[in-house]
């Protein structure tokens, strides 16, 4: 009995020590067992432990994304098509998908998984979230994976990794390249106001706005209820015109630049003066970005500013509006330090890899990532008129909508500058976003807002 009890205690201690130790022991046991039994048993044991058998055992790669199964968005259908192709070619890798359509819900789940270090093998994440995951070491740095295949790595547009890197490491593989600030304008309304093309300077833009307003049309439709539109789609680009990108780099590295610097304050002032001039619809703080497009589609507004993702919905607008729509970026400003042929943009989101699965399934993960971001994928995206992060030269343009072709021409000349909210920390962004709402209704002066943002910036330093 005593011996039995000792054995039992020993067993329970062994159990308590944990799964990892047990797994290790199991491995050892197998090896020692292999030599011990008679020869007849050997082949069977070998069959289950040899690498040839593990190749038959399929590797499961979990993939969490924001594209619902029945979604008709181009990115969703392209990813699904590439995945199906991939599954046919690699029967020993099984990609298990989970899709959650709503962004907030998606990130709620992602953060819960991150908090318990259970992130999926591959998942989509915004750059700003990725930086946080990287800090907590729940995502794997992908530098080795990328350098292992130079053709793949060098195929990406040079600036596309910017949003997905932090602390000198790359944590994400980009799948698209978005501009967040594109001006969609109705050339008919501009022609009525005496402009045959989009204004080239800020002063000209102000004149155009005044004339359009005289014609009884809202110059710029703005739906900033959700607060990110004014910042992500307007200020990120407008700010850069004034400050230049070096200023933002310095802000982001915390190496001296301030939000109270004259250049940034000037950009806020320019933004506010547009509002004072009556360039926006009065209810801008109570409608959202879908409704700003509605204003434009109804022919009540001459332009709206949103990211390149809006191309699709413009093409679905009433024909008369869609045919008259052109794309442009903000004009140059006087004394501005930024490049005028630039707009805020970047990969924004990318595929990231949970650190837990990376250790054991590195090769399988690399293969899936290549299938979902490499040339084949990029080509089929480009053929649908979607902006891609991977260089594709010859693709079939016949199915691409005219506006997408116009945008592709424009964007090929553009430089991409940082989108504020994909770099700055979320607390700072929310102060800035709320402040911009106030700024546009004259609730705060540019100087006071700049001070407020700077105060929050110093708090998080």
């Amino acid at each position: 009995m005593k011996a039995n009890r000792v054995k039992m205690t020993g067993l329970s201690v062994a159990l308590a020590v944990g799964m990892s130790v047990l797994a290790g022991c199991g491995g050892d046991n197998n090896n020692s067992n292999n030599t011990a039994p008679s020869n007849s048993a050997n082949p069977e044991v070998n069959a289950s432990s040899e690498p040839s058998a593990s190749a038959q055992e399929p590797v499961k790669v979990t993939f969490m994304n924001m594209w619902p199964k029945d979604s008709t968005e181009n990115i969703a259908t392209t990813v699904r098509a590439e995945l199906a192709k991939f599954q046919a070619d690699h029967p020993n890798i099984i990609v298990e998908e989970e899709s959650i359509g709503d962004q907030n819900a998606y990130y709620t789940k992602l953060k819960t998984l991150a908090a318990s270090n259970e992130l999926p093998d591959i998942f989509i994440s915004k750059g700003s979230e990725l930086a946080m995951f990287a800090k907590n070491e729940t995502v794997a740095p992908l530098d080795d994976l990328l350098s292992a295949d130079a053709d793949w790595k060098n195929g990406f547009l040079p600036s596309s990794f910017n949003d997905l890197s932090s602390g000198g490491h790359t944590y994400g593989v980009p799948f698209s390249m978005l501009a967040t600030s594109v001006i969609y304008y109705n050339k008919q309304f501009f022609a009525d106001a005496g402009f045959s093309s989009f204004p080239q300077t800020w002063a000209e833009l102000e004149t155009a706005i005044a004339k359009i307003k005289e014609n009884g049309i809202t110059p710029i439709a703005l739906g900033n209820k959700e607060q990110w539109v004014a910042e992500s789609c307007i200020l990120s680009a407008l700010g850069d015109r004034f400050t230049g990108t070096d200023w933002f780099t310095s802000i982001n590295d915390k190496s001296g630049a301030k939000f109270t610097d004259a250049d940034f304050v000037n950009s806020l002032e320019a933004f506010q003066s547009l509002a004072k001039q009556g360039a926006f619809n009065k209810d801008m703080n109570s409608i959202n970005n879908d409704q700003q497009k509605t204003l434009y589609f109804n022919g009540k507004a001459a332009m709206f500013m949103e990211g390149s993702w809006a191309i699709g919905s413009v093409m679905a607008a009433p024909k008369e509006i869609a045919d008259n729509t052109e794309v442009a970026v903000l004009p140059s400003v006087e004394g501005g330090k930024g490049n005028a042929m630039a707009t805020s943009g970047g990969a924004g989101s990318g595929y990231a890899v949970g650190v837990k699965g990376y250790g054991e399934k590195k090769d399988a993960i690399a293969k899936v990532l290549k299938a979902l971001s490499g040339e084949g994928f990029a080509k089929s995206m480009a053929e649908k008129g979607e902006p891609v992060a991977f260089t594709v030269t010859d693709y079939d343009k016949s199915n691409v909508s005219p506006l997408a072709v116009k945008y592709a021409e424009l964007s090929s000349q553009l430089q991409f500058t940082p989108i504020y909210d994909s770099y700055l920390n979320p607390a700072l962004v929310s102060v800035m976003n709320a402040g911009l709402q106030d700024l546009l209704i004259n609730g705060v002066t540019p100087e006071a807002l700049a001070k407020k943002i700077q105060a929050e910036y110093e708090k998080t330093n």
Binding site: D70, E73, G101, A105, T112, T294, F297, N298, W309, A316
Partner: protein, 279 residues
Amino acid sequence: MSIRQPFRKLGKLAFNVGMAIFSFACVFPIIWIIYSSLKTKDEFMLNAVKLPAHPEFRNYYKAFVEGKMAHYFISSGLNSVIAVVVVVFLSFCAAYALSRFRFRFRNAIYTFFIAGMLIPVYGLLVPLFLQFKQFGLYDKFYTLIIPYIAIRLPLPIFLLESYIRSVPVELDEAAHMDGASKFYSMTRILFPICRPAIATIVILVFLDTWNEFPFSLVLVTNEAFKTLPVGLTNFYGQYTSDYTTLMAAMVLSILPVLAVYLAFYKYIIQGMTAGAVKG
């Protein structure tokens, strides 16, 4: 005196008009969802408030068949029904014991149950996720039912405990004198008296479980186990939302809740006028 009469009438009228406007404001969103679900996407984008020019039911087909709403209906339905049955049973037993017997730790147990109402769901997400993962309960067909029952229990116990306490003990004593067992008087006498409270509980538990979101989002991965609200998020895209189909799906998801409410609502009214020992 006679001068005051018209003023009082006027006051009443103003009050009623105010209330009518208020009720309209409450009901309008639902009416709006119903008629918007009959519009096409383009029609909706152009004018969100206008009535549909050519009402059509294509959105319902899209939501139910293409959006695979049936999955989520089954999952939400099963979870809700099981949760309702188990919660009513457990809470009635617990409330009976808590209100009819004096025993040690009675107050501690009662407080323990009630304290459950104070914990916000989002605070439970991460710990619960870790627990489920460790115990191997993650992503199973029974995964959701466990926290659903646990988290719904406090309120019914609170409601039933005070309700049973308001029922005179004399009733139990009379039954006892007539030779009824504890079990008999509990199920045949007390239970029917508690009908209004139980109807309230059925409605609340069903509604809450049917609409549950955070647990269903985090604790399961398999589409078939997710509840309806998580399924509804499939109609949101990354940058665009398919509002009209979403609304059709919403109308469909309101129906069962409405049915349960209508089925049990009359018991609440009945219970208010019922009673054995009066005065």
